[in-house]
Symmetry: C2
Subunit: 402 residues, 2 copies
């Protein structure tokens, strides 16, 4: 018998009607003869609501106590879904992470799963039950409650899928798959049927916020396929897999973008490994997340460093960079609070030269200035002025006939 892990997000659990709808889907899968394990998120909005309750008490809730309150959202979801499935005549049982034994490290609010005890799950499955597990949460060996960070339920689902050697992990969400570009910008963007893990990792890291990054890493590492699909329709979504033979041979799989970026440049500092390490250590110690980094060679001694951060970190990052610039005797430190990032992703690029030059040429033809460029085997990222982002995405989508 095949084991299917299904994960339903907050919008799928938003109210009683939604929960009943999910129950129908689960029961449908069960009645096709599969063993079904369901991982659920908190009802939409509840996590924010709980964070707000904590914030009403104190500006700085302790990580442990925040996890204590946040874990309740998923507990409500699992219970309601178990009731709804039983009401449809299938047996079901809900488990918190602590009950299953989804063991994590001790990093509250951003814990990593270390081990999953599958004995309770397997026992319940062998009794013919649908097993419903609270996503997002974990437990340490000392029974401390942890959470995996926003979007963590995807990771819970994949980790459980790996532990159970499931045939497939279905991630149900409010979109019906991964698109070649944001359909709000590119009207003829189309749904991608198959995408490689590597491409999905680049997409997820580049603004396509449909899957938690860590869940894709985990699926890739364990080679377990993810089927990303809509909980509101029955259509096939996007398969994330390494079965490249099933895929269309394309140069570019898709174009992702983010607009919430700001850029900072530290101009002309002494070119030593120490200096560069010192800059990024200082910024990371201030808990600021750096995204794209480029480093330009000026002359034998001098280099210029540019990097992007989220817009809400811009002020802090700029202040810190100015201090660093002074310390390291930079010629200048300056920033741009509003830039966009456009990422062109496709495993086909690996073996086909000239993609980057087509991207640059296409952007130039459309009058889009390129601020920064950063590339990997399968990803070309361009940082551009924010106002040009939709023009850029549209132009590239057309250029590669996606």
């Amino acid at each position: 018998m095949s084991i299917i892990v299904q994960k339903y997000g907050g919008t799928s659990m938003a109210n009683s009607e939604c929960v009943k709808n999910v129950a129908e889907k689960v029961v449908g899968t069960k009645r096709k003869g599969h063993d079904v394990v369901v991982v659920v998120s908190a009802p939409a909005g509840m996590t924010d609501q709980l964070v707000n309750r904590a914030k009403e008490i104190t500006d700085k809730p302790s990580g442990r106590e925040l996890d204590m309150i946040l874990a309740t959202g998923e507990q409500i979801s699992i219970s309601l879904l178990a009731m709804a499935i039983k009401a449809l005549g299938e047996d079901a049982i809900s488990f918190t992470s602590a009950q299953v034994g989804i063991y994590t490290d001790k990093n509250h609010n951003k814990a990593k799963i270390e081990e999953i005890d599958t004995s309770k799950i397997n026992r319940a499955l062998s009794e013919g039950k649908v097993v419903i597990i609270a996503g997002f949460q974990g437990v340490t060996k000392d029974l401390e409650i942890t959470t995996l960070g926003r979007g963590g339920s995807d990771t819970s689902a994949v980790a459980i899928g790996v532990a159970l050697k499931a045939d497939e992990v279905e991630i149900y969400t409010d979109v019906d798959g991964i698109y070649t570009a944001d359909p709000r910008i590119v009207p003829n963007a189309h749904k991608i049927d198959y995408i490689t893990f590597d491409e999905m990792l680049e997409m997820a890291g580049s603004g396509a916020k449909v899957l938690h990054l860590r869940s894709v890493e985990l699926a890739a590492k364990n080679n377990i396929p993810i089927h990303l699909r809509s909980s509101f329709t029955d259509t096939i979504g996007t398969y994330v897999t390494d079965e490249e033979e099933k895929m269309e041979e394309v140069l570019v799989r898709g174009v992702a973008h983010t607009t919430n970026n700001a850029k900072i440049t530290i101009a002309n500092i002494e070119n030593t490994a120490n200096n560069i390490a010192y800059i990024f250590k200082t910024i990371s110690d201030a808990n600021i997340n750096v995204d794209v980094i480029t480093q330009n060679y000026i002359n034998k001694e001098g280099i210029t460093i540019s990097f992007t951060v989220a817009q809400e970190e811009y002020d802090r990052a700029l202040t810190l960079s100015k201090r660093l610039g002074k310390e390291l005797k930079a010629d200048d430190v300056y920033g741009n609070e509003q830039v966009a990032k456009v990422c062109i992703i496709g495993v086909g690029m690996k073996s086909t030269p000239g993609v980057a030059s087509r991207v640059f040429g296409c952007l130039a033809q459309n009058g889009v200035a390129i601020d920064m460029v950063s590339t990997s085997d399968i990803n070309i990222t361009c940082v551009i002025p924010q106002e040009d982002y939709s023009k850029a995405v549209l132009a590239i989508h057309n250029e590669f006939e996606l």
Copy 2:
């Protein structure tokens, strides 16, 4: 160092201001040099809200899944209170029942505490922390989540007090103590400073719904004093204890009443032990709770049985009784959907004869007909017409100069 267990109910946790108020009280106690363990209920209204969410999914939620959802209310309370106490500069840590090890039997929705592991609590106390524990919930040895039934947090608090050999259990609520009668009926009713466990048991069983019955039984059995007091003032409330030397010597400690009663009579059936057992087994099997029972001798062979039930059970109980009456060849079966129960309670009655006759005389003088009478050592219960209950309570309160 003395250990104090404090229990705060739902109204004390209703919103952020309330939680902060509770935190102030807890910190005040801690700073007087006590070790403090706090047991909390779900925020007021939340348990009902969760039950309603379950009812939206299904008419008959499974007991296990209902416990799963209900346990979240207390988990929210403990987390918020821990945050609020830490914000005031004292260290605090919250625990669910599963984390502590408050082990119960497997009876979902009405579980009984069997054992409490005090090791985590004692460790945290020895580290100078205020320990906050979720009331109402428990866990089985298999990590199944259970709940103790409505009002169960009182029982959690007393059980934890017993396990820790606490000096006192303080139950904070929205009233400032036990009164000689309901002040809404008897304007000169006054707060009782000390009351015995036995009297409190009779009061709790007779309509004074300030303490969960099982919590009083547990405190009595282990001789641990309960201090019932208001979370909105600092005044001393009512001590429930067996230290009779501290108490006023009174004949009657108080008058309790309930108005939600209905009475059923099965007239003239054959007087055999089997018949009586059969009647009450049948009624109990239908999950109907019987309160007062009286049995009248008619002649050598015949008896008449009367009993009271809650008004919402009246229709079912009457239908059942009519069936039983037919089966047992009763002369008649009839009922009264609206009766009241007045209970006169005091350990002084044990050693003083004539209290019952004073009660009957006083009711007669005030034109109150007595339907049923049932007495114990320290309790005289009269079932009377519902419309007369306030007249009866007032008259008895005056008669015994409470």
